[in-house]
Structures are given as structure tokens and as C-alpha cells.
């Protein structure tokens, strides 16, 4: 049995799946003051009538880290960075303990100038004086040469309970994002680890002794134990849970549009040949771009509870939400009320919806059915426009080789998959607007928890080899090795793969070889003057996002 638990902004959902069937499910409002209470209750309820020892795995998607950052409940972090030439690193200032140390590493990973030790010392003394206990240490091009970050870690020493080193979080190039990622990772570390302790305690009390994973924004999971070092990976996993849910519920093979219509927002995702697309660099969070891998999803301010407004005869919907619909006792009319009014759905107190719409129409000096029609048209039109803009952006994604330029296949969705509370109400309107088949999976109400339950692990490594320097590095696995002058891209691909497999074994990440794929691979001959000096080899390898089984 697989247990999936999604602690969302509004609801906490749990499902128990056995042999591709939902054995139990549970849904309750999330208690934001105490997430653990919500989780404990969901765990207890969903497992109350089963043999708890038969639970093979628990996958958990939680907003804990997300909320901590949004609500500013994070710990103070000593951010010590070094940029060298380029954009002024002051622009990336985060928190009250932010220090820029002179020094530089170039794009080849060559150390140009040592870190200024006096500056490091002064920064650490100031932090010690203010009792700063967690640190984020990042240098530019540390994914090419992590030496300076390691030097900083050594200097911090016992002064820290925890340090985040930039190169261990991602192999990608992007210094500002690396700074942001490392900052968040340290900022939520203590809170997250306390949460992990509490979860383990709760499971013990419930008599559940099994593997526990957490969901990441890229739709994959990682073991809870590993996430203790990488808590930043657990931010914004909510949309990913829903997307993985729809993969579990439907056999998607084509280019498709995925819409998850909630109360306040609609999440849009695009699938290419049945596979979800991933953000190019990472997710942006609290207006700080990060290197946290994420499924490509866009959230727009239209949902079932979006307020309908009329201003000088013009009807608009959202982005404001002022409580639930009138059908649920809310103060203003919303899309749900409009759909109730014309009979598309029958939700809650339909009479209240009718009364509210009639009053609003009268006040605006228009006919009620005109108001209803205009508001639905506005919402559907807005969603359609946003989807098309997102598609245009995806199809216009830059490429860097002539081959890709000429072979590029545009994504042309054939179907729309729809889920979320008000999904039924929108189906026929979206069908008309997109002129595509609209599919609503049966169990869409708990799709997110199903997605969490069935999501498989993901992981990514980037290998960078420079045969003229005779070096190979895989930053996030902390691997540095010597390579021979005749090292090839094929060897690099094999090595990236085998390091990934080894790492998974060690960390208890269960994955099969067939899920491992090389996603980028290049080899450039380097020439100095008129002589070849070696090769610059780059390989990206990942365990791709996916689900185990599905719901029959």
C-alpha cells in the first residue's frame, strides 16, 4: 500500500492506494497554525481501518517550508558570498547578515584571486556576536571549482549548526539563483528538521514503520532523511502533486493542456508527448529566483471563488478573492455563483447564488443572464489567453544549435485535462473556447494526494570535464576526479549515469535504470592559438519525473 499526503493551502488530502485502487481517502481543511496536527489527523484517519504494517511507502507533500518563508518565520542566516568580476553582488542581498568577500574564480573554474581572509574573519566575528547559527556560502562559478566554498565552510567550522554550500544544491550555472537557493535552504533548515523529527515521532506512535519520502516541485520525491539537508527542495510542491495526480489518473500520451481550477487560482501545466515540462532554470519564490527544479506550471488569478466585478458595464473576474462564493455564505458573487445561476452546476446554496447574482445585476443595470454569460466568458477567455501565451513562450524557447533550430517540433496540444473543485462547471465552456477534447478524471478531487502517493524519485546531476586541466567535477555529488587527456563524452555519459546510480543506492532512493536518462550532452574541442588543448565535456543526467502504476 502506498500512502499519499498533500498538505495544501486550503485542504489536507490523504489517500491510501493498494494495487492501483484507492483503499481510503481523507480530506479536511488545513490548520495553518499547526500543520502537524493536520498531518497527524489525516494519517490516523486514512489508515484507521487497514493493517498499518502493510504500508510500503509514505509520500508527503507539505507547505511547511513554503509557509515559513512566506510568513517570514525563518531563521537568520549568515550569507557569505564572493562574486569577482560581473554584476555587483550587492544586488542579491538577502537577510541582515550578508557579506561580499573579494576574490574570484573564472568561467573555467580557475582560481584568479584568493578570498580575502580578513573579510571572512570580520564577517564571521560579526555573525558570532549576533549568534547566527546557520550559514549559506556561495561563490561565483563554484560549480566549476568548489574550493572557495569549501574554504569558507572550514572557516565557519563549529560556529554553525548547519551550512549550505552553493555547489551542493545544483550543478547549474547561475550565481544569483545559487545565492537565493542556499539562503532559503539554511533559513528553513532548523524548522524543517524539527518537523521531520515530529513526523517520525507521529509515525512511531501510529505504529507505521516504513520509508518516508517528500515531494519536490519537480514532481519527484526524495527520502525524508535526505531532505533534511536539502529542505529548499520541498518548497512549492503543491502544483507538482496535482500534475503527478493527473498522470496517475489518465493515460496521457499526447501534447496536452492541464488545468487545475481551484478556489483562488488556476494552475496551468503543459505536457509534451505525455510528459510534463520542466522550468528552464528553477522556480522563483518570494520574488527570488532559485535553482530548485520545478515542473513548468503557471498560476493565474482566476478560480471558482474569484470575485465578479462590474465597472461601467464591463464585467471582470478575479484576481481578487473575497471569501467563498455566496453559495457557501460568502459576501460577493463569484464564478461558482454564476455557474450555479445558469444551472451548469448545483453547488451549495443555489438560492443564495441566484439572489446574489440578481442583486448584483440590478445594481449594475444589466440583465442577470447577461452578467452571468459575460463573467464566464471573461474567465474562460482569460484562461485561454494565458494558456496560449504560455504555449507561445514554450514554442519560442531559444535553442543553440542549427540542428535544433531546423528540427524544432512545436507543441500543439490535442486535449485539455481538467481538475479541481469547480472543474465540472467549466468543462463545456473550455471545450468551446479551446476547441479541444476536455477530459475530467474521475477521482480529480484527491488527484493531488494520488499524485503524491505514486510519484517516483527524481534526481539530477551535471558533469563537467575539462581534459586540458585533467579534471572532472559533479558538483552536487561532491565528486572531483582526474581524467585522462583522451577522456570522451561517451565515458562522461557512462560515468554520470553510474555516479547517479551509486548515489541513489546510498541514499535509499529507489529507482530503476530505465528511468535514468541523459538530457544534455556536449563536447567542445578547445583551441588555444592554433593547437587543440583538450575537450570541454558537459553531461546532464536525470531520473525523470514519473508515477508508479496508476489508478485503474
Amino acid at each position: 500500500m502506498y500512502l499519499g499526503l498533500d498538505v495544501g493551502g486550503t485542504h489536507t488530502d490523504a489517500v491510501l492506494i493498494d494495487n492501483n485502487k484507492i483503499v481510503a481517502s481523507f480530506k479536511a481543511p488545513t490548520d495553518h497554525k499547526n500543520l502537524l496536527t493536520s498531518i497527524n489527523r489525516a494519517l490516523a484517519e486514512v489508515t484507521k481501518s487497514v493493517d498499518r504494517s502493510a504500508i510500503k511507502r509514505i509520500n508527503l507533500s507539505t507547505t511547511l517550508s513554503t509557509n515559513a518563508i512566506v510568513e517570514n518565520k525563518t531563521e537568520k542566516v549568515g550569507v557569505i558570498i564572493s562574486g569577482g568580476p560581473g554584476i555587483d553582488p550587492e544586488s542579491f542581498r538577502l537577510g541582515d547578515f550578508f557579506y561580499v568577500i573579494p576574490g574570484s574564480i573564472d568561467h573555467r573554474g580557475t582560481l584568479i584571486k584568493d578570498l580575502e581572509s580578513a573579510g571572512v574573519k570580520a564577517a564571521l566575528e560579526e555573525c558570532a556576536g549576533k549568534n547566527v547559527r546557520v550559514y549559506s556560502l556561495v561563490t561565483k562559478f563554484s560549480t566549476r571549482n568548489p574550493g572557495e566554498e569549501e574554504y569558507l565552510a572550514e572557516k565557519v567550522g563549529d560556529q554553525a549548526d548547519f551550512v549550505s554550500l552553493g555547489h551542493r544544491l545544483s550543478g547549474q550555472l547561475n550565481f544569483p539563483r545559487r545565492v537565493g537557493t542556499a539562503y532559503f535552504n539554511s533559513a528553513v533548515w532548523r524548522l524543517y528538521n524539527q518537523f521531520c523529527d515530529a513526523i517520525n515521532e507521529s509515525l512511531k506512535e501510529l505504529g507505521i514503520d516504513t520509508q518516508v519520502n517528500v515531494l519536490k516541485a519537480d514532481g519527484g520525491t526524495m527520502p525524508l532523511s535526505l531532505s533534511r539537508e536539502l529542505p529548499v527542495e520541498t518548497i512549492l510542491s503543491g502544483p507538482a502533486a496535482s500534475i503527478m495526480g493527473i498522470i496517475s489518473l489518465c493515460d496521457i500520451t499526447d501534447d496536452s493542456i492541464i488545468l487545475d481550477i481551484g478556489g483562488t487560482t488556476t494552475d496551468i501545466a503543459i505536457f509534451a508527448s505525455g510528459a510534463p515540462l520542466v522550468e528552464r532554470q528553477g522556480i522563483s519564490f518570494a520574488s527570488v529566483p532559485t535553482l530548485v527544479r520545478s515542473l513548468l506550471a503557471r498560476s493565474i488569478g482566476i478560480g471558482g471563488d474569484s470575485r465578479i466585478s462590474v465597472q461601467s458595464g464591463k464585467v471582470t473576474v478575479g484576481p481578487m478573492r473575497e471569501g467563498p462564493s455566496m453559495a457557501e455564505g460568502g459576501p460577493v458573487i463569484t464564478l461558482v455563483d454564476a455557474l450555479n445561476y445558469n444551472g451548469t452546476i448545483s453547488y451549495g446554496n443555489t438560492a443564495a447564488s441566484k439572489k446574489g447574482v440578481d442583486e448584483a445585476a440590478k445594481k449594475a443595470g444589466m440583465k442577470a443572464d447577461v452578467l452571468v454569460k459575460a463573467s464566464i466568458e471573461f474567465a474562460v477567455g482569460f484562461i485561454t489567453d494565458q494558456v496560449n501565451a504560455m504555449l507561445a513562450e514554450i514554442n519560442d524557447k531559444p535553442v543553440y544549435t542549427i540542428h535544433e533550430m531546423l528540427e524544432n517540433r512545436a507543441i500543439v496540444p490535442e486535449k485539455v485535462y481538467l481538475m479541481g473543485g469547480p472543474a465540472q462547471g467549466f468543462a463545456r465552456y473550455l471545450h468551446a473556447s479551446f476547441n479541444k477534447e476536455v477530459i475530467i478524471p474521475r477521482e480529480y478531487a484527491v488527484a493531488n494526494a494520488i499524485g503524491a502517493a505514486l510519484a517516483k524519485p527524481t534526481f539530477q546531476v551535471e558533469l563537467f570535464a575539462d581534459t586540458s586541466k585533467g579534471q572532472l567535477i559533479i558538483p552536487n555529488l561532491n565528486i572531483r576526479e582526474k581524467v585522462a587527456g583522451d577522456y570522451t563524452v561517451e565515458q562522461a555519459e557512462d560515468e554520470a549515469r553510474s555516479y547517479l546510480v551509486d548515489y541513489c543506492k546510498r541514499m535509499g532512493i529507489q529507482s530503476s535504470v530505465k528511468d535514468i536518462e541523459i538530457i544534455e550532452s556536449s563536447s567542445f574541442k578547445m583551441v588555444q592559438g592554433y593547437f587543440s588543448t583538450g575537450r570541454d565535456i558537459r553531461v546532464k543526467c536525470q531520473i525523470k519525473p514519473g508515477v508508479e502504476g496508476g489508478i485503474a
Binding site: 554584476i87 584571486k113 561565483k140 540542428h403 533550430m405 567542445f524 583551441v527 593547437f531
Partner: protein, 436 residues
Amino acid sequence: MIKAKNRMGLIFFPAYDWAIDPSHPEREERLLYTQDQLWEEGIFDIEGIHEFKPDIATEEDVMRTHFCFPDVRTVTTESHMISAGGAIKAARIVMDGEVDKAFALVRPPGHHAMKSVHGNRGFCNINNEAIMVEYIREKYGTKKIAIVDTDCHHGDGTQDVYWHDPNILYISIHQDGRTLYPGSGHVPELGGPCARGKTINIPLPPATSDEGFLYAIDNIVLPILADFKPELIINSAGQDNHYTDPITNMNFSAQGYAILNEKLNPDIAVLEGGYSIQGALPYVNLGIVLAMAGVDYSMVREPDYNYEALRQDRNISGYIEKVADAVLDAYRNPPKDKNAVKYGDYNVRKKQIYYDTDGIRESQIESVMACKKCPGVLHIESSSSANPLSFGIEIPFGACRSCRDEGLRVFRDAKDSRKYRTIHFINRFDKEYIRV
């Protein structure tokens, strides 16, 4: 988060699968480290800077600009069409108001490609800027455009394309032709008889530093631009004036390039040469992108930058001041072209052109109508070691009716004569581009 003052579009196309040959300076690796630097700096996370995919230039885009012998396909590869397409995309997003400025970081380069094309010279086959300018003129009707070429090599191709065009001001700043390929670009080269002073050459001595370049910008380029009042400024942004460039002898720096760009304030920049791919390009390109976007670039420095070692010699400064006086004088009072020979209503010149990359020799007789109302119908009789006698006729952008009629007559006569293997006919009046 950083916010750019100018909305800026970057068209980055490094053509990672194309090279002239494996160890040629114009090879796959050329923009790899630039990409690394731009990515590591998080350039695309700056609010207002966006990356765009290049267009692919069409055969018509090339035929609107060049006489390609025997045809477009033979003298280009896909990479040339994408590079030119990158320049076109830069123009489109600026002209459509999607961005304030655009930089086409594309390869291969183009500024050595002349009006008539038989092959590759100076690493260039077709002229990206000229194809872009002709696209702009045809689609948006822009009349006055200035191209400022800051590549270290004289842009003899662009100069050739616009030699007779009084509406396109071409200014090239480069290392003195007596010391570097292609050998041209001297002060007295001022444009054809009807476009005198609309070609401006500023040859700088070897070892010119930031100081000398910026002096030339402040004291020559900006005053001339202020006088010409172009609707659009284009920078042919070669990066081989850099002190680390392996095939030139100048002492320009990344800071210098960024300051130059800020002063010049171009609407569109298109990458040209620059072959110090590790020591210069990552920093120069970063400096240019930030300067165009209006983001602080004061900390962009090469790791090995040494002000003292690059300081400009006083003799060089003195020499550059003299060059400036000579150029300004030539712009304001251009002397008559002594080499111009008149046959009837036509100004005629003979040209020998060498295509160094492909080893082709071309001989041309170029004739242009001395028209008072328009740039004048132009034709080129050309033969080369690659192609037998061929012919190109252009009814130029903004042509008067009589030049249009003359062009049609010349085309008809050329066809009837059966002398030519290939005839290219560029008819900007009726937007017709024909090859027979």
C-alpha cells in the same frame, strides 16, 4: 531583483554545431564561455531582459540585399541564414516596440560580405547588418539609419553595400588598414560621388587603449551622428579590439566596450568578430548587455586587467587627435572622388576582390546612375574564379521612377545579351527579387 532601465532583447545563437573548420577562430566553441558567463551572472533573471529565438532569414531577405553568384544556396549554409535571421529578429522586436534595444549575439559574422557575393571572405558570407537594414527599410520604411562598426577590422563589406547610399551613414572605427586585414578603411574613403561623407573611416593606430577609442567616439562619432540625425543607430559590435585578441593589436577593454556602448546608445547591436573567446568575449559581451539594458556594469572587468600595462602612449593620443581632425574635416567638406570615372550618366569603378577564406578572386565593373533624385540604379558586372561572367542590377530603396525604368531596361538588355551565366535583379521599387 535587478530591474533594467531599458527593455532589452538578447538573441543568442552560438551555432554550437557549426565551424568554418575545427581549429578556425570561427568555430563551435566561440560563444560557449560567453554563454557560461551570461548564465552564471543570471542575466535573464534581470527584469526587462529577455531572450529571443532567432528567425531564419529567407532567400528573399538575402536577395533583397546581395547579388549572390551563382545563387543564395551555394554561397550560404543554414548557419548564415540563422545568423542573419537573428539580426532580423533583433530589428523586429525593436521596431515592433516589444523591447527598447536588442543585441543579436549570433555567429557567423557578416561585415566583410560585399554587395556581390561569390564565397566567404574574412569569415563572412552574407552581411547580417545589411540584410537587417534592408529588412527594416522594406517592412518599416525607415529612411535614415546609421551603422557604427566597432570591429577591429575595417568593415569593407558593409562599406561596399552602402558606398552609394546617402541615407545610410556607415562609420567604421578600426585598426589602421596598413597593419591589419583587409587593408582598407582609410580616411579618404568617403563614399560614392552621390553619397560623399556618408562613409566615414576612423583608422586607429595599433595599441590604442580605452582612452583613444572613447576619444574617437566623443570627438568624431557622436558629433557626426548628431549632425546626420539617424532614426536608428546600429552597432556592428566586433569585439576584437580587446587587448587579448589573438589576431589584432589593440588595447581596448571590457569596461571600454561597455562605456562605448553607453555613449553610442545604439538601438540594435549585432555581433561581428572577436576571437579571444575565453579572455575577452565573456566580459565584453556581459559589459555590452548590461550597458544596453542600462544596468550598472562598473564591476565588469577581465580577471587579468591591468590599467598600467594598457595605458595609452602619449604619441598615440596625439596621433588620434590628428586623425579626428582629418575625419571631421573630410565629413564636413568631402573632397570630390578623384577615382570616379563617368561614362554617360553613370559613375563607373573597377574592383578586384579577394575572398581570403575561400581563395576566390573576383573582378567587377560597378556602374551607378548619377541621379539627383535618388541613390541611383546600380549594376555590377562580375566574374570570378568561382563563377563565369554574371550580372547584378539594383533599383535601390527609394528609387525614382526614371531609375526604376532604367533598371528594368538594363535587366531586359542583360537578358537579351545572353552574355551572363546568372543575372540578379533587385527591384526595391516593386519589391521584386529575381534570379535568372
